[in-house]
Assembly symmetry: C2
Homo-oligomer: 306 residues x 2
């Protein structure tokens, strides 16, 4: 047992001794405060994108999910390595739905930004085999899927009957925009969920990852006034300065972001605390939690921010 948990354990034992009926379960904040280094993980730098929208603001950090979308992740890595996204823009901002970024001229073969090694379309990766996945189940049920839970820091839905699992469209999840056909996406046009989870998109679009930091920057942009929330003029778009794969950066410039592991006793205790809302403010303790209402904690040591 990690050393940092000992003081909290000692206090708990004391409480049990003194007030056996009143030993209060910990709140989620208390659980996180007492977590150990082993409860957290650093994303693989090959799975970590650093997107800089505005100079002087913290970068937006996105963790990619190759376990669910290996082809798209490989292509996004290729796009980042060739600096494809640099100088592109957030082109769409639809309220209670998505922020979307990519090449404003993507539909114009004469003007679109060239790609070097990356591909312009890929087979869909809407779902994968459930076999081989260690899903931490969430017991509260779900309107959209037979089962839900978490895998490696991502919200996941699954069906034993189908033998499939897929990433779920929770807030801050990132997907690969596509056209009318399943295999028309590539990862060159990405979106992040900025509203109530549009779970009807599950298994209709390839999800590729999750915004770990900076979703607020994407969610607070002015809404586009064109159809589907696309900006109507170039001036409205939010320019992207750079997108870099962390593994391409010098070691001392790699974001030191950490994500709470979702396969530990600490995680399970944390979810239970979020479910039962032990804070005094809550009068009606819900006792239930929906997949997209489970925040997946992220921490960034201050020294890594510009």
């Amino acid at each position: 047992m990690p050393a940092r948990l000992l003081p909290a354990l000692a206090l708990t034992l004391l409480a049990v001794t003194l007030h056996p009926a009143q030993a209060a379960p910990r709140t989620s904040a208390e659980i996180l405060a007492a977590s150990s280094a082993a409860d957290w993980r650093r994303p693989d730098p090959d799975n970590l994108l650093r997107m800089q929208l505005h100079a002087g603001r913290p970068p937006i950090l996105i963790e990619l999910a190759p376990a669910f979308a290996p082809k798209h992740v490989a292509n996004i890595r290729a796009l980042a390595r060739e600096h494809y996204f640099d100088g592109l823009a957030v082109v769409r901002e639809q309220d209670n739905y998505v922020a979307q970024w990519g090449d404003p001229d993507a539909e114009d073969a004469g003007k679109q930004k060239p790609m070097k090694s990356a591909l312009r379309s890929l087979p869909a990766e809407f779902a994968r085999a459930i076999a081989g996945l260690a899903i931490t189940p969430l017991k509260d049920g779900d309107v959209y899927a037979p089962a839900v839970g978490h895998v490696q820091g991502f919200p996941v839905a699954s069906s034993r009957r189908l033998g499939k699992a897929w990433l779920a469209h929770c807030y801050a999840m990132v997907g690969a925009g596509r056209g009318d056909t399943a295999d028309s996406g590539s990862g060159a046009e990405l979106y992040a969920v900025i509203g109530h989870a549009p779970r009807h998109l599950d298994r209709n679009v390839t999800l590729v990852g999750r915004v770990l930091q900076g979703i607020d920057q994407l969610a607070s942009l002015p809404r586009g006034t064109g159809p589907l929330g696309f900006y109507e003029t170039a001036a409205e778009r939010a320019p992207i300065q750079t997108v870099r794969l962390a593994s391409e950066l010098p070691a001392d410039q790699r974001p030191a972001v950490e994500v709470l592991r979702t396969d530990t006793a600490t995680w399970s205790e944390y979810v239970e605390a979020r479910r039962t809302r032990r804070e005094d403010w809550f009068i009606e303790k819900t006792g239930r939690i929906e997949l997209c209402n489970v925040p997946i904690p992220v921490r960034v040591p201050k020294s890594t921010e510009p």
Copy 2:
């Protein structure tokens, strides 16, 4: 049957005649386009708030729900009539949670804005008797409540065992902030949901209504950097120019906003279309819809916007 539906009906009959197996159900857009005047209602002007944040932008319109929070609605009407909100501000903007507005000095008895006839605290109205409510049920289930549906344009959860019904914290719902005790709210401090539905707040705060128009203005404000997303300086706050009850305005200045009725055959067909996503783009037709993913359509004739 309203006249405007006839062409669509005629087309449907034709399709049935020619291709009996292929008569396509209508999409939600087609259903709304073919709706009749009787499918829509104008909110009672005593239940309609017009909040002006920025000059030159459309006003934010909020429909109050006296069937669920009669005391809070009466107090909010009193606050609006005494122009209490004029010159106050959005004081909190927490990402994926709420925008909150009121008196920045509310906690300081020496500096707080005086009230004339309005009250500073009210008994909680977290839930009401289910008896007397005509709930249009939503059959898809819910993680948080035994039953869900819609009443008079609002998302509602209920429990027959408890004999209670309550408004649900979906996107754009408006609630009355409170302190640590259940009866510490009044409607003088209001918040709107700007992220994934925080349903754990259901029955913990009094919900008072829903933003019909302009939630995008509240959702796209910069996020506050203080604890709980409160702005740390006065300069960051978004000032409120005016809040008026529509019934206080001259008849020709009352917003002509209309809301789709939630107790009609058109509503039921619309929800079914949202559930099954008949648009060709959707490859996996979900066949399920969660309460807060049912958009409640609002239309505003262009001539009423400034």
